[in-house]
């Protein structure tokens, strides 16, 4: 007992250091592993309202710019209306009196905090449970895909940006719809990288990269960016493709959250895929 007390006194500084570090790591891993907890992040109410106050102040400097962007977007939306519908291929059943059914709905929100300098970047947006947001919904801006909803608070949510190492979006490249997976290597916030494309496939420069829509989070064909360069990966017969993002992720201010009406159905279907037990 005496020895123990002596030990504790002798190493009290180091033990104090260790204790505090443990506390830090707890916060860190709680954030990384439990996406539901909102405590101590910008999705919590207190921090969210502080940041929103700051945002209202900064908003005045951007009024003209935001207005221009919205006008341009309105004009575009008027010309393109059927993008988010799919055709019901049952001409016999006319009772619904419609040929198309909506499969995606959009909820608008403002970004109140963003980063693009860290290894993994997150946005805080001013929409949450009250607006019907759920974890895993897609987030787009008028120029392209921005990210996926990561944590949902009551009024604010955290969005995992495409500038994270494990975003892993499924994408298609060009007219031939070559499939690949989007990642980010942490170096340049303007450039992402695609893996999983076999080296015998020709990938032309400046071909457009769009969402694949396989998981039902995003509709198929949303623009993400353009192919910039490609390199062959070491030890593997795969391309390492650089993508120039179509959205300037440093300057996004308003976004739309996509509520998918077909995701549940897709999930149910995918659950029935049998596993191979060899």
């Amino acid at each position: 007992m005496k020895n123990l007390v002596a030990f504790l006194i002798r190493f009290r500084v180091f033990l104090g250091f260790l204790g505090l570090q443990l506390l830090c790591f707890m916060v860190y891993f709680q954030f990384v592993t439990y996406p539901r907890t909102v405590f101590m992040t910008t999705a919590s109410k207190v921090n969210g309202s502080i940041l929103e106050g700051k945002k209202t102040f900064y908003d005045y400097f951007l009024l003209a710019q935001t207005n221009n962007k919205l006008q341009a977007e309105n004009a575009q939306l008027r010309s393109v209306t059927f993008d988010n519908y799919y055709k019901l291929q049952r001409p016999e059943f006319y009772k619904n009196d419609t040929l198309y059914r909506q499969s995606f709905r959009y909820i608008s929100a403002e970004i109140i905090r963003a980063s693009s300098q860290q290894r993994n970047n997150y946005f805080t947006i001013n929409a949450g449970q009250f607006q019907g947001l759920k974890q895993g919904m897609g987030v787009v801006s008028q120029n392209g895909v921005v990210g996926v909803v990561y944590k949902v608070g009551k009024q604010f949510s955290l969005v995992k940006s495409v500038l994270t190492s494990d975003i892993n979006l499924d994408v298609i490249i060009g007219k031939n719809e070559i499939r690949g997976i989007l990642k980010w290597n942490g170096k340049n916030p303007k450039i992402g990288s695609i893996t999983g494309v076999s080296r015998d496939i020709v990938v032309p420069r400046w071909s457009e990269v769009r969402t694949q829509g396989a998981t039902g989070i995003f509709p198929k064909g949303l623009l993400l960016g353009k192919v910039l360069t490609k390199r062959s990966m070491e030890d593997q017969s795969l391309w390492d493709i650089d993508v120039l993002f179509s959205e300037d992720l440093k300057n996004v201010h308003s976004v739309y959250i996509i509520r998918s009406l077909i995701m549940e159905e897709l999930k149910l279907l995918h659950k029935d895929i049998p596993f191979d037990n060899q």
């Binding site: 250091f17 505090l20 830090c24 790591f25 916060v27 860190y28 910008t42 980063s115 290894r119 340049n188």
Partner: protein, 169 residues
């Protein structure tokens, strides 16, 4: 009593500086501005290490909650506070530290401040980026971010020190 008010002011100043200004400075190429360590640096020589570590933790966790860096700053600041006495004893002047003086550029001179703060800031940043990136395969990225942020933060710390130098508080 006056010193308590003074250090409370510094605490708030560096906290607000980091959260509302330094976070918005985006230069690119991994350059980030860290000003929180300066607060721990300028605490008096005879501050207890426990007080320093607790203050570092508090300052870090408050800043983290507003910057979504979830405990990274807190952890690095606790490390900074833990190593401060060790580094200070490395660069001990001939007749020891004078408790009437403060560990600032004004009181201790260029050579001492550049060496101690440089070493401590480097430790802080290496720890921060290793934790943030958390993958030794990306050691080049860790190295680049540490180097660029070090140059930037070091420079700003010196400018801030010169700024407070004239002011005889």
């Amino acid at each position: 009593m006056t010193s308590l008010i003074r250090y409370t002011f510094f605490f708030l100043f560096f906290f607000l500086f980091q959260v509302f200004l330094a976070r918005n400075v985006e230069i690119g190429a991994g350059m980030q501005l860290f000003v929180l360590p300066i607060f721990l640096m300028i605490l008096p020589f005879n501050t207890s290490i426990f007080v320093m570590m607790s203050l570092g933790f508090l300052l870090g966790i408050l800043a983290d909650s507003l910057m979504n860096s979830y405990g990274l700053n807190a952890s690095s600041l606790v490390l900074f506070a833990y190593f401060r006495p060790l580094v200070f004893s490395l660069f001990l002047p001939k007749d020891g530290y004078d408790n009437l003086k403060e560990p600032t550029l004004r009181d201790m001179g260029w050579r001492w401040f550049l060496l101690t703060y440089g070493l401590l800031l480097l430790l802080h940043l290496v720890w921060f980026f290793i934790l943030e990136i958390f993958r030794l395969g990306e050691w080049l990225l860790i190295l680049r971010n540490t180097f660029m942020s070090f140059v930037f933060s070091y420079f700003v710390a010196l400018v801030l020190q010169l700024f407070f130098r004239k002011q005889n508080v």
